[in-house]
C-alpha cells in the first residue's frame, strides 16, 4: 500500500499543472461552506440569498465563454442566445413533465440536461458556418445568431393541454383547454415554480469546472490551444483545426445551455428580453476582466461583477456611474505594471520565507 503523505498531496495540489484547478475548486467549495453556514445561522440577507443562484449561472456561462474566447481564441457574442435556448427549453420541459415526474431532483436534472443538449445541437449547427470565419467576422455572425434566436423566441407560442401540444408562430392561433402555456410570445413563460437551489447551482459549477479542466488538459485541449496560438503551425503537424475549434464551441454551448436552464428554474417568470446582445457583452466583460484563459479569475470577476450593482444600491442615483467607474478601475489596475510588480514582490517575500524555512 502506498504510504499517504501530506507533503505528496500538497505538492500534487500545488504543482504548476494543478494549481489553477486547486484554486478554482477551493474557491467554490469554500464559498459554498461559508454561505451555507451563513444561511444556517440566518445571517444572510434576503437580497444576497436571492442572488446566489444567478451568480452561479453567470459563473458557468462565463466559464463556458472563456473556453471559446480564452482557449480557442474566437470572439463569440452569441452566448446569451445559448443561455436563452437552454432557459426556454429547460423551463418548457420542467413545466411539461411537472405532473409526470414527481421527484424534484429528477425534474431539475431532466430540465438541465434537455436545455444543455438542445443548446449543444444549436451550437453545433451554428459552428459549421461560424468557425469557417475568424476575428471580427466571427463576432458579427455570432451576434446575428443572438438576434435571430431572440426574434424567434419572441414569436413562439407553445402550450399543452389534455389534447396534446399546441404550437403556432407569430400569432397565437390556438386556445388551451386547461393546460399551460409553455412559451407565450413576448410574455415568455410565467407562473413557474422555483426548483433551483444553491446546492444544485454549486454542483453545476463544480461539474462545469470538471469539464473545463478535463478538456483543456487533454489531448484535445492542447490541440485547441495550438490552433489558437498558430493555426498554420497547428495544421502542419496534423491537428484538425476546425475539429478542435468545433469541439470547444459545442462544449461551450452545452455548458451555456445548462446555465440557462438553471437560471430559468430559479425564477417564476422568464422573458426573452433578458437574452439580448447586452447580456452577451456582460458575459464577455466577466471573461475579459477575469482574464482570458484564467479560470479562477473568471470565477472571482463574475462573482464580484454580478454582486457589485446590488451592493452599490446605497448610492441610489449614482449606482450605475459607480459601477462603470469600478469596471474602468479594475481594467486599469489589472494592467498596471507598477501595481502588478508590487503585488508580485509581496508574494515574493512570502515565497522566500517559505524557501528559507524549507
Amino acid at each position: 500500500m502506498k504510504k499517504f503523505s501530506m507533503k505528496k498531496l500538497f505538492s500534487f495540489l500545488f504543482n504548476r499543472k494543478h494549481s489553477n484547478m486547486t484554486i478554482s475548486y477551493g474557491i467554490v467549495v469554500l464559498m459554498y461552506l461559508i454561505i451555507e453556514v451563513l444561511i444556517k445561522t440566518n445571517n444572510l440577507s434576503y437580497l444576497l440569498t436571492s442572488l446566489l443562484v444567478p451568480t452561479c449561472c453567470y459563473i458557468i456561462v462565463a466559464l463556458a465563454l472563456n473556453l471559446v474566447v480564452g482557449f480557442s481564441g474566437d470572439l463569440s457574442l452569441g452566448h446569451a442566445a445559448f443561455m436563452g435556448i437552454g432557459a426556454f427549453v429547460g423551463s418548457a420541459i420542467s413545466n411539461y413533465v411537472y405532473s409526470l415526474v414527481p421527484n424534484i431532483a429528477l425534474r431539475v436534472i431532466v430540465a438541465i440536461l434537455a436545455g444543455s443538449i438542445i443548446s449543444g445541437i444549436f451550437g453545433y449547427l451554428i459552428s459549421i458556418p461560424v468557425l469557417k470565419l475568424s476575428g471580427d467576422y466571427l463576432a458579427i455572425v455570432t451576434l446575428a445568431f443572438c438576434q435571430i434566436v431572440k426574434s424567434l423566441l419572441n414569436n413562439i407560442y407553445l402550450g399543452f393541454d389534455d389534447s396534446g401540444i399546441h404550437f403556432s408562430f407569430i400569432n397565437q392561433n390556438f386556445t388551451l383547454d386547461g393546460g399551460k402555456m409553455l412559451i407565450n410570445g413576448p410574455v415568455g413563460s410565467t407562473g413557474n415554480t422555483k426548483f433551483s437551489n444553491f446546492t444544485v447551482a454549486i454542483i453545476m459549477v463544480l461539474f462545469t469546472l470538471f469539464i473545463v479542466f478535463n478538456l483543456i488538459n487533454s489531448k484535445y485541449g492542447r490541440a485547441i490551444k495550438a490552433s489558437r496560438d498558430n493555426k498554420i503551425a497547428a495544421s502542419s503537424i496534423g491537428i484538425d483545426v476546425i475539429k478542435a475549434k468545433t469541439l470547444c464551441f459545442v462544449v461551450s454551448s452545452i455548458l451555456a445551455g445548462g446555465a440557462g436552464a438553471l437560471y430559468a428554474l430559479n425564477y417564476t417568470t422568464l422573458s426573452v428580453a433578458k437574452f439580448d446582445f447586452n447580456l452577451s457583452i456582460m458575459i464577455l466583460v466577466y471573461v475579459v476582466l477575469g482574464g482570458l484563459g484564467n479560470i479562477p479569475g473568471t470565477i472571482v470577476a463574475t462573482t464580484i461583477l454580478v454582486l457589485l450593482p446590488e451592493l452599490l444600491r446605497s448610492l441610489s442615483d449614482y449606482r450605475m456611474i459607480a459601477y462603470a467607474l469600478v469596471l474602468i478601475m479594475i481594467m486599469l489596475i489589472s494592467n498596471n505594471e507598477t501595481i502588478k510588480n508590487s503585488f508580485n514582490s509581496l508574494i515574493g517575500i512570502f515565497k522566500r520565507k517559505d524557501q528559507n524555512n524549507a
Binding site: 440569498t49 410574455v187 451592493l311
Partner: protein
C-alpha cells in the same frame, strides 16, 4: 505557498464584500427610518435606463404624497424606492433589498414585466402591494392569466389593464369618428404592446373599424420610415401607436420630416413623451392618448397636485406620477380606516389592507376608483389631446 496565499486573499475579499453589504443595509435602515412609528412603503421602478421617465415620475409623486401625509400628523409613512431599470432580475433583487429593509406596504413595480416576476414573491411574503402603472393582467392574476378567478389577492392595480386599454381605444376611435382608415404600428417584442394590439384588433373587428395597415418593429429599431411610408400609401388617416414613448418620439419626428400628418393615437405608454429630453413638443401637437389623468383638468385635487409637483420637481406630472400619488393616498385611506399601525407585522397589515381596499371608493387625481377582488381597478377611461405642449380635453 503562493497559491494558498492567493486563495486566502480571494476568500477574504469575498467575505468582506458580504460583510460590507450587511453593514450597508443597516446604515440604510438608520438613515431612512429615523422615525420608528412610520409605516415602511417600498417600491421599485426604472429610475435609470431606457424608461427612467416612468420610474422617476412614480418615485417623485409617491414621495410628494408621503411628505404631504406626514405633514398632516397622524399616520406616518416612509418611502424607499429602488431602481430596477425595468428588468425582472433587478426587480427581484430590489425586492430583496426592500425585504431586508423591512417593507410593510409596497408600490410593487412601475413596469409590467418586472411586476409579473415579483408578484409571486409578494404573495409568498404576504405583503400588500398596489402597482401604480403595471398594466399587465398577470400582475394580479396567477398562471397564464386566463382565469379571472385565480388571483394573488394581495396585489392591486391603479391603472387599467392592457386588454382594457385596447378595447377602450377602439371604442373611443369609433365613437368619435376619429379615423376612417386606421394603421397600427406596434412593438412585437414586448407583451405590453402585443396585448393592447390584440384586444384592439378584436374590438375593431366588432365595431367595424377599417384597419388598412399593421406594421411591427422591435426594441432596437430607430428607423420607422418603412412602416410610415406603408401607412401613408395605404391611405391611413389615423395611426394607432400602442407603444412606449421612446419609439413614439422617433415615429412622430420621422412622420413630421416626411410631411405625413395623420392623427396619432397612443395609450398610456405614450404618456411621458412631453418630458422626453431633446424632444420638440410642437411635433406632438394633435396627438391623442388614452389616459386617466390630465394635468390641465380644472378639478381642485388635480390642480393642487400639479402645482405642488411642478414647484418641487420642475416638470408637469404625467399619468405615472398621478397614479403613484393616488396609490399612496389610497393606502393612506385604508390605513386610517383599518386602524393600521407601524408596529403591526406586514402580514397583519396585508390582511387588514385587503379588507379595506375592497370596500373603498377612492377619489383621487385619476378619477374615481374601485377595486375588484382579483386586483383590477374599475374606473372611467379618458382621452386627451396634446395642444401647445400640454394635455387638453379633446372637446
Amino acid at each position: 505557498m503562493k497559491k494558498l496565499f492567493t486563495i486566502l486573499i480571494v476568500v477574504m475579499c469575498m467575505f468582506s464584500m458580504t460583510a460590507c453589504s450587511s453593514s450597508g443595509n443597516s446604515n440604510n435602515n438608520n438613515n431612512q427610518a429615523n422615525d420608528v412609528q412610520a409605516i415602511k412603503i417600498g417600491g421599485s421602478g426604472p429610475t435609470s435606463g431606457d424608461y427612467a421617465e416612468y420610474g422617476n415620475a412614480v418615485k417623485n409623486a409617491a414621495q410628494l404624497a408621503v411628505d404631504e401625509i406626514n405633514a398632516l400628523g397622524g399616520v406616518q409613512f416612509v418611502l424607499n424606492f429602488q431602481d430596477d431599470q425595468g428588468d425582472p432580475d433587478q426587480a427581484e433583487t430590489a425586492f430583496g433589498t426592500l425585504m431586508d429593509w423591512g417593507m410593510q406596504l409596497s408600490l410593487s413595480t412601475t413596469t409590467s414585466g418586472a411586476g409579473i416576476r415579483v408578484s409571486p414573491l409578494y404573495e409568498e411574503n404576504k405583503i400588500f402591494a398596489m402597482t401604480p402603472s403595471g398594466s399587465n393582467p398577470l400582475l394580479t392574476l396567477k398562471g397564464d392569466g386566463n382565469n379571472e378567478n385565480d388571483y394573488y389577492g394581495n396585489i392591486f392595480q391603479m391603472c387599467f389593464t392592457d386588454p382594457n386599454q385596447g378595447i377602450a381605444s377602439a371604442d373611443y376611435i369609433s365613437m368619435n369618428n376619429l379615423g376612417s382608415s386606421i394603421a397600427i404600428i406596434y412593438e412585437n417584442d414586448i407583451d405590453y404592446s402585443v396585448s393592447v394590439y390584440n384586444k384592439f384588433m378584436e374590438q375593431a373587428k366588432n365595431l367595424g373599424l377599417n384597419v388598412v395597415y399593421e406594421g411591427t418593429f422591435v426594441d432596437a429599431d430607430t428607423d420607422f420610415s418603412v412602416q410610415l411610408t406603408a401607412a401613408q400609401q395605404a391611405g391611413a388617416d389615423l395611426v394607432f401607436l400602442p407603444i412606449y414613448y421612446k419609439h413614439a418620439t422617433y415615429i412622430l419626428n420621422q412622420a413630421n420630416t416626411m410631411n405625413y400628418a395623420p392623427i396619432f393615437f397612443g395609450v398610456d405608454g405614450m404618456d411621458g413623451i412631453l418630458g422626453q429630453d431633446g424632444f420638440d413638443s410642437s411635433i406632438a401637437e394633435g396627438v391623442y392618448l388614452l389616459t386617466p389623468f390630465s394635468a390641465t383638468s380644472p378639478d381642485s385635487n388635480v390642480q393642487h397636485f400639479v402645482s405642488e409637483y411642478q414647484s418641487k420637481f420642475g416638470s408637469t406630472p404625467n399619468q405615472f406620477a398621478a397614479d403613484a400619488y393616488d396609490v399612496v393616498y389610497a393606502m393612506y385611506e385604508c390605513v386610517k380606516a383599518g386602524n393600521i399601525t407601524a408596529d403591526m407585522s406586514a402580514q397583519d397589515i396585508c390582511d387588514a389592507m385587503v379588507n379595506q381596499i375592497l370596500s373603498l371608493t377612492f377619489t383621487g387625481v385619476t378619477g374615481e376608483s374601485k377595486w375588484q377582488a382579483n386586483g383590477q381597478v374599475t374606473k372611467v377611461p379618458m382621452a386627451v389631446v396634446i395642444h401647445d405642449g400640454a394635455y387638453t380635453d379633446p372637446q
